[in-house]
Subunit: 395 residues, 2 copies
DNA sequence: AATCTTTGTTTATCTTTTAAACTAAGTTTA
DNA sequence: TAAACTTAGTTTAAAAGATAAACAAAGATT
């Protein structure tokens, strides 16, 4: 039996304070009276919580300009400049860093190419990016409240990098190292999971409690949001859906399995297929950029290759929908730029393969945060951690 | 923003009472003092809760026979005979009904063949089974506290049967009908989900918070337990993993998809394959029972067919593990009887296809409740509902 | 000017948890 | 065998927090 958390007055207060806080954050500007009506909490309770949060700089008030037939309400605002968060998208050949306010608005953006994947070198570049962002953070009551990092690899529950195949890293405790460098709380999460959270909090999946984020880049990673929470599995490595078999007799994947989905529906798959089909004159080095340009110009062979890609993506999405019955699927990362050409084949495959109920009830969307989804997700993990520490959010 | 539940004294009390109750249920016989030490709740708090539960007949006390150097403790016992639950496994050609105590111990078992799938007729037989079980229930403070029914079909969140393909039922509100007949709370759940809960509460998956139950019968259904709770998806129809594609170019399934897992790894698949391979003299009507007998006698062809079945099951399990990173997978329903012949091929496939971390950390088990898992799961859903109503369990 | 409305605070009450004191009932020690 | 020690469980007083009701503040309406 797991040790269950007992209840006391403290817990009650934290729950209610968190409710009042989120109401102000999401519905503000709003008056104390409105919060009381909306949440069912007593006016006195709301007043107590609010004055605490004003003392803590999380909330400020501005008198309303007009009344509705009685005393003018005092409007409450979430102070999204009480502190700032840093979100890092650590890619295989780039680092993208964002400084955001507590609402996830981007204040500064720093981007660098990575010329090496050597751990020590990457770490130094990472430190430089973080230091730049810290220097740009405006003065605020809480300063830089955390650093979130999205990494393309498997992260366990202790936030150690177990394996990042494309970076060739194994067992790196980056969290502790960065923390010791800057003395700011660090959160590390898998790239697809970060993207999922980014889209869930700020993007296409706001207010959607069951969603699957499908990151289609060099490979395919997925982030699972269930009942509003990230699901990371027993040891932190769920969501390896890029490696489910869609062709039991297909060719060997580097993961050990055969006929993995990402062999048919990823950036690598697209480029290989394009090369094989000789879609361009010089077949030696095709890039995504070239394919995008050619597609826009109506290159038939390129369109055909993209069509096939879309169909293959659709096959995998069918599996995801049958498994999770999610409210929404969000396709992100680099291949989402081809949305206008792959959307139709995806939907055709789904129409053909899904049962009636699933067809009706699943939204297929493309990322709306684009290249920022991972870094924003990472930043938001840190913000959420900060709020929990300050008892404004529950576990 | 979803309306969040506010906290008050009532909530705190319910949380703590539930903790004390579960401690007695799982660790009993146990004294008040021990509960206090174990849970961290004050002795006075524990005493208050306990005397309430004694008044409510959920707990009784017996003085201990010996002390440990001081006043003798009074030992507290969960009164598993405070009421009884009914669990029904409504199959395609049978009804299995169980009467259990509040600990899931089977008190009575009733089993009937179904000769028709006509809704009205099945309902009458179901009523007869339930009435028999009600009549056999011993006298108790709460009587029969609920009826749980596991059905082979899609159930939505309102517990309406949306579609039960093998029974050819659509949109049946069986819950309300049974409730109006017996005036006892009724809970309806999908067959695989019931099985998952059964194994999670009473079977191979006790104390395992992330597990996938794979019901391999005529088709394949799955039940998903995540963070200790059943996950049923946005509209209640998650877990259709029998219909994920393992061969994109495979043959058409009745669900509309191509190359579904259950076309290769279910009872139907096994029987067809056996027929094709002519494993028996008379090829016309092979049964599971015959295959079992022949396998025991060492029939090479049968063993080969079972070997292939195991491999195909393994392919699907690889997908499940890559997706969920569960702590345990439990294989149940009729095909689990072949465990001794399919276990090795399953493990071989997993060893070959899974990455190192998943191999190390995922337990593959066969159902230990056997033919009772669905009915026991259904009974336990009702028990859990009853406890929630009585504030002994949290939502 | 009097009355009505709406907002927000103050006050007294209620519930529940907790620490500390206390009673109960045993064992160990001198 | 009596005194000291242990352990179990109850009683009591205090503290925290939510709430309803009364109240004060500040506007609109009649």
């Amino acid at each position: 039996m797991q040790k269950l958390k007992t209840g006391d007055q403290n817990l009650v207060k934290q729950m209610n304070k968190s409710i009042v806080f989120h109401t102000i954050q999401k519905k503000g500007p709003i008056s104390r009276a409105q919060i009381s009506k909306l949440t069912g909490l007593n006016k006195a309770t709301v007043s107590t919580m609010v004055s605490e949060m004003i003392d803590e700089s999380f909330v400020y008030e501005i008198e309303a300009t007009q009344s509705s037939g009685g005393r003018k309400p005092v409007m409450l605002y979430f102070n999204n400049h009480a502190g700032y968060s840093i979100g890092i998208d650590l890619g295989v050949n780039y680092i993208l860093g964002l400084l955001t306010d507590l609402n996830g608005n981007i204040i500064e953006e720093v981007s660098q190419d990575l010329t090496t994947i050597q751990y020590g070198d990457v770490k130094q570049q990472l430190y430089a990016v973080i230091q730049t962002l810290i220097n740009k953070a405006p003065d605020s009551p809480y300063g830089v409240i955390g650093i979130g990092i999205g990494v393309p690899g498997n992260i366990n529950h202790e936030e150690t990098i177990i394996l990042a195949p494309n970076l060739k890293w194994e067992h790196k405790d980056l969290k502790t190292e960065v923390q010791n460098e800057f003395y700011i709380p660090v959160k590390i999460q898998n790239e697809a999971n970060s993207g999922a959270i980014g889209e869930h909090i700020y993007g296409a999946g706001r207010n959607i409690s069951n969603l699957i984020y499908v990151s289609i880049g060099i490979g395919i990673g997925t982030g699972i949001i269930i009942q509003g929470n990230l699901y990371t599995g027993t040891s932190g490595i769920s969501g390896e859906m890029g490696h489910f078999t869609i062709d039991a007799n297909g060719r060997k994947c580097r993961c050990g399995n055969n006929g993995c989905w990402e062999l048919y529906a990823s950036e690598n798959a697209l480029l290989e297929h394009a090369k094989k089909q000789k879609v361009l004159e010089e077949t030696n080095a095709i890039t995504l950029k070239q394919l995008s340009t050619e597609a826009q110009m109506g290159n038939k062979k390129v369109l055909q290759v993209l069509h096939t890609l879309g169909e293959n993506i659709g096959i995998g999405l069918t599996n995801i929908i049958n498994t999770f019955n999610p409210q929404m699927i969000i396709i992100g990362n680099r291949l989402s730029q081809f949305s206008s050409w792959i959307s139709n084949p995806i939907h055709n495959v789904l129409d053909e393969r899904l049962s009636y109920y699933h067809k009706e009830n699943t939204d297929i969307n493309f990322s709306i945060l684009g290249k920022h989804s991972i870094a924003l997700g990472a930043a938001s993990i840190s913000i959420s951690h900060f709020f929990k520490e300050n008892k404004l959010e529950n576990e």
